[in-house]
């Protein structure tokens, strides 16, 4: 469900409507949700690998940020 606020310049009236998503909007919503989930999982995997490397070389997160800045 999408909430849309519409200002009509011809009448200068503002209305708020609730409508169903169009097919394209639903498809896009699902696609983006799947992409964000995949990105979050990839980021978590990368973060875990990064932490493993830091532990291996004995650096804290702040020390690593300092080196990379």
């Amino acid at each position: 469900m999408i909430i849309e606020k519409i200002l009509d310049l011809e009448t200068n009236k503002e209305t708020i409507v609730e409508r169903e998503m169009t097919a394209e909007e639903m498809d896009y919503f699902n696609r983006i949700a799947a992409e964000k989930t995949a990105e979050a999982q990839a980021l978590a995997t990368k973060e875990a690998a990064r932490q493993a490397v830091l532990e291996k070389i004995g650096l804290t997160t702040d020390e690593a940020k300092l080196l990379l800045s």
Binding site: I2, I3, L7, T11, E25
Partner: protein
């Protein structure tokens, strides 16, 4: 010497907007109403010496007086736009209740993916460790022009512009624009600069500003139009 009574009585407005205009010494004629937003213009080649015509040169005016606040919904639409060949949409201080939301602009309530095509440059800040990334971006599968993505912090703020040309035609409407989104302590915000086209064949009658998830909760959109 003025217009004779006999001449004036045979020249009378026949419809709303008709003007009684001098056409010669002691004579008058009717100039019928012009197209909406046209202005009265001198033209010695016409019988009355006047005509209705579009204002010469670019004549930008703010269509939504004072701007429209970006609050209370995911989609804010300004409708009732007419006879504007050029549109300039400005967003100032826009923010969404949800971090990570897209910033999109749609025309004529048209969510047809294939009508929004663009290429451009994207600047992304993926994480606290990664370097800022610069990459290319392109669209043609989204139901609007996607200009920026808020960071994953709901305090992220966007601002930018989109310029559209050809709004009063049935052909391709060219667009150019650039939007930024602040980090606000978060990451993964995307700033984009794009050039492209809206392929819908109707003249532009509405502009929608979209936060893909979460209601807009701050900011203002200004829509300027020109002949």
């Amino acid at each position: 010497m003025g217009i004779s009574k006999a001449t004036a009585s045979s020249v009378a407005p026949g419809a709303k907007g008709d003007l009684v205009v001098g056409s010669a010494t002691n004579d008058a004629a009717i100039l019928t109403v012009g197209t909406n937003d046209h202005v009265l213009t001198a033209d010695s080649s016409t019988a009355t010496g006047l005509k209705w015509a579009a204002a010469a040169g670019a004549n930008w005016s703010l269509l939504n007086a004072g701007g429209t606040s970006l609050t209370g919904s995911t989609t804010i639409t300004i409708s009732g736009i007419s006879n504007r060949n050029k549109l300039l949409i400005l967003i100032s201080g826009g923010s969404s209740a949800n971090g990570g939301s897209d910033v999109g602009i749609r025309f004529n309530a048209d969510s047809t993916n294939a009508n929004y095509v663009w290429h451009g440059t994207r600047i992304t800040n993926p994480s606290a460790f990664s370097q800022t990334m610069i990459s290319t971006t392109s669209g043609g599968g989204d139901p609007y022009f996607k200009f920026a993505v808020f960071s994953d912090n709901a305090a992220s703020v966007t601002q930018g512009f989109l310029l559209l040309d050809g709004g009063n035609s049935s052909g391709v409407k060219v667009v150019n624009g650039a939007f930024s989104a602040t980090a606000a302590g978060g990451t993964n915000q995307r700033n984009e600069t794009i050039g492209g086209a809206y392929l819908g064949t109707s003249t532009i009658s509405s502009v929608s500003v979209i936060s893909s998830s979460g209601n807009w909760d701050a900011g203002t959109v200004f829509v300027y139009g020109s002949a």
